[in-house]
Amino acid sequence: MTPAIVIGASSGGMEAIRQVLSGLPDKFEVPVLIVLHIGSNNINHYLSLLGSNIGFRVKEAGEKEAIESSTVYFAPPNYHLQVEANFTFSLSIDAKVNYSRPSIDVLFETAAWTYKEKLIGVLLTGSNSDGASGLKAIKEYGGTTIVENPASAYTNTMPLAAIDASTPDYVLDLKDIAQKITELCAGN
């Protein structure tokens, strides 16, 4: 099984995600699955900006799409993004979780079931507590977790809630996160 990375972010997340992704090497192959609360029905503009800045493919995750390497997938606005046991995506429009749809918890938890110890979970800036229980699930299933340092995060509520719910493996400043992900993936 190839590993995967899941990232969650809320307010301040556009910039934080851009920083993390652009810090990864151009040849980075591990798929990256992202939930960003964007509060709009359209992320295409953001995705094309992002895609022109980094070396690998950036796209909205499609219903039943197979997860491929060298690709960054974003949850479509207004749908929960789930990982199925056969490494495909499924979408759902059930009720909001933590006032959010897409919810970080939903992606993290379902990815943990499938990728187990091959998963790296990264939680960045945000002003709610989405992602905390998802990150906990990643740990329970043997994965590795990274939380952005609340002291330097754009908004610290989300990192604090995550640290409160389970002890992350690493608490890092934003600028050091890409480096750590690269290291962890190289060791795999």
Partner: protein
Amino acid sequence: MHISQKTVDTEEIELDLFLQAIHLKYGYDFRNYNKAHLRRRINQRLQLSGLKTISELQNRVLWEKEFFQTLIQDLSITVTEMFRDPEFYAAFRKKVIPDLKTYAHIKVWHAGCSTGEEVYSFAILLKEEGILSKTRIYATDINKNALATAKQGIYSSKEMEQYTRNYMEAGGAGKLSDYYTSKYGSVLFDQSLVKNVVFADHNLVTDGVFAEINLVFCRNVLIYFDKFLQNKVLTLFSNSLTKRGFLCLGTKESLQFSEEEANYSDIDKKMKIYRKLTGSL
């Protein structure tokens, strides 16, 4: 605590057995629904009932009929809204209505209609286009509680602001409030809208064709099914549709890569409006 590899695989086994048990005992077949989604819903029910494992839940559901009703509610997602995806309705007005106007009679099937918001929305659209009276509508679902709400046509007035916005964006010709009366925080939709609607229990997985249909709406239902079940249900629609009949799916759903793809042409690719080809079937 680290759950060992073994425990994790045990959960997958439990889930399969659980779905099989429900099928054998109650005839509802969830075995080809998306597993991640089922597992999330079942875990929530475990927490609420203070149970630890799916096996314990299986025991309860086999021996307590009433508990199964709770579970059905858990497993069917009824989240819906009026004029959901307004651009879809706008495209429908422009690209499908002109054809429908030439028909003597129209038969419509809302498959997975949930609590009925989609049915009232569409009835309003047909009324404004002057063709509601020649249309017969079948609105079906597996969730009996949802169907009961649909029949009543009573919704929370809190939603009306959003629905009014959707209605306008969908190209509404009047005011949404012309179609309902408000009372004590609820609104009741004009029952003449659903005079020609039959609300009925129909399971897309286990039930078959029941009428010749000109237009099938099945929006945001197939996303809960795996590929195999999606193909099966799409075949059911093909067998129900008349020649040149229309099929409307949810905006994240598609005929692309399905076994039925070759039997349809695109009317609006983005809004997932399809039309059955003359030569097919």
